[in-house]
Symmetry: C2
Subunit: 257 residues, 2 copies
C-alpha cells in the first residue's frame, strides 16, 4: 500500500478570490492534496468568530487532481470547522491560512481572522500556520512570500508542531528579506482608532482606523522589531491563554467566599 | 479635592437588553460611575472581531446619576474601543463584561465575545473581567452570580491586575456554590459540530451545534473540572499568546534562509 499524500487544508480571511490565498496554494504545489475552504468574500478582523444564529452554506467551485476549492458563507473559523467535520474524508496533516493582505503582528493576532483560523486548526490538534504579508493592497506582490510559505509548510509537514501551539508568520513587504527570526508577540495597542463622519442622513458614524503604538520599541526579540528590520517574524502562538504564573498569586482569593 | 469615583465600563455579547448585563450592572451599584456601551442585539461567538468595512453607530439610551447606557451597532470589542476612544472622558478603572448567558470555559475563551471584550480592556491596560453563567437561557437566574460579580469587581478595583492579564470567570448554575477556584483553561474541542438541514429551496445548509470533548477530565485544576464540582472558576488570561518555551526549540529554523 502506498502512503497517502499529505492533506493540506487552506483558508484565509480575505476570501477565496484574494491574490494572497492563490499565492499560498501556488506555493504548496506538489506537497500533497490541497483543499481550499475559504470565505466567499472579505472577513478581515473576524478573529475566532463563529456563526451560530445563521445557517452556513458551502459550494464546490473547482475540482482538479489534488486540488479543490470550496467557498463558504461563514467566518474563517467556520471554514476550518466545516472542512474538518463535513468536507474532508480524513484529518488534514497541515492547516495553512493566508497569505493575509496586511500585518498580523503584535496584538493583531487577537483580531485576525487568518490567525483565528490557524488557531482553530490547532484546537483540532492539526499543525497550523497563519501567513501574512505587510501590504494591505489587493494587488500586493506575493512572489517573495511564496518562498517563505513553501519553506515553512515543508518544515512543519516534516517536523510537526507541539499540541496547542501554532505559528504566526509575518513577512515584510520587500524583495530583500534579511532572514527569519523566531520571536515573541509585541506588546502594544492601537490609538486614534476612529474617524468620525456623517451618513446620508447627516447622522454621526464611526469608522475604524488608527495607528499602532508599540510599547517596547527597543526589544530585539519582538515581531514588530524584527519586521522593521526586514526579517520574517515567526511567533509560536499558544491556544492555552492561561497566565499560569499568576495562578499562585491570587490563590488566596479562593477564601473570598 | 475629593477623589473621583471609580469609572466602570460594562459591555457584553448578548446585547444591552439581556438579563445578564442588567444583573451585572445591578451588582455594581454604589461602586462608582457605571457606563454601559453594549451591542444593540446578540453578538454571541464574535470573539475579538472588529468592524472595519462598515460604519459603527452609538446611541445614548439612558442617563441617570452615575449610570449611563449606550447601545452600539458593532461587536463587543468595537464597544470597548468606542467607549475608551470616543465616549468616556477618562480612562476606566475597571472593565467588566457579561454576565454571559452560557459558559465561556475551556477553548470557548477563543470564540467568546464576552471574553473578546475583556481582553480588549486588557489591551488598553485596564483591569478587566469577563463573567459567564453556565445557563444559556434568556431567563436564567443571575441572583447567585450577582454576589460573585460584586465580590470580584471590588477585589480587582482594590488590587488591580498585572498588565496584559485579565480574568475569565465562569459561574455554575446552582444556588449552592461550593466556593471559588483559581485554575487554568481546560484543553478540549467541540465534536459533531454541525447539523445538516435544508433551506426553503431544499438546498443544504449547516447549523453550528456540537458537544464539548474534554481532553483532561481528571485534572483538578482546570476550569471545566472545578465547574463540574459547583465551584466558580477564575482563569487568569494573558493577551500575550506567545509560546515562550517553544521559541528556543525552533531557533534553528532561523538558518532556513
Amino acid at each position: 500500500m502506498t502512503k497517502q499524500k499529505p492533506l493540506i487544508l487552506v483558508t484565509n480571511d480575505d476570501g477565496y478570490q484574494a491574490k494572497g490565498i492563490k499565492a499560498l496554494t501556488n506555493s504548496l504545489k506538489g506537497l500533497g492534496e490541497i483543499v481550499v475552504v475559504a470565505p466567499d468574500g472579505p472577513r478581515s478582523g473576524m478573529s475566532s468568530a463563529i456563526t451560530s444564529l445563521y445557517p452556513i452554506r458551502i459550494h464546490l467551485l473547482q475540482e482538479e487532481t489534488d486540488f479543490k476549492i470550496y467557498s463558504c458563507t461563514g467566518t474563517p473559523v467556520d471554514c476550518i470547522k466545516l472542512a474538518v467535520s463535513e468536507v474532508l474524508d480524513r484529518k488534514p496533516d497541515l492547516v495553512v491560512t493566508g497569505i493575509n493582505h496586511g500585518s498580523n503582528a503584535s496584538v493583531a493576532v487577537l483580531y485576525s481572522g487568518t490567525m483565528g483560523a490557524a488557531m482553530e486548526g490547532c484546537v483540532f490538534k492539526i499543525p497550523s500556520i497563519g501567513f501574512s504579508l505587510l501590504d494591505h493592497s489587493m494587488h500586493a506582490d506575493f512572489s517573495t512570500s511564496e518562498k517563505i510559505t513553501r519553506l515553512l509548510s515543508e518544515k512543519v509537514l516534516a517536523e510537526g508542531l507541539p499540541k496547542g501551539t501554532c505559528l504566526n508568520v509575518n513577512i515584510p513587504n520587500t524583495k530583500d528579506l534579511k532572514g527569519i527570526k523566531i520571536c515573541r508577540q509585541t506588546s502594544g495597542n492601537w490609538t486614534n482608532e476612529f474617524q468620525k463622519s456623517k451618513d446620508g442622513s447627516y447622522k454621526d458614524v464611526y469608522w475604524l482606523t488608527g495607528e499602532f503604538a508599540n510599547d517596547e520599541p527597543n526589544d530585539e526579540n519582538t515581531d514588530e522589531h524584527v519586521l522593521a528590520r526586514d526579517y520574517v517574524s515567526v511567533v509560536p502562538v499558544k491556544i492555552d491563554m492561561t497566565d499560569h504564573n499568576y495562578i499562585s498569586t491570587i490563590k488566596s482569593w479562593e477564601s473570598l467566599i
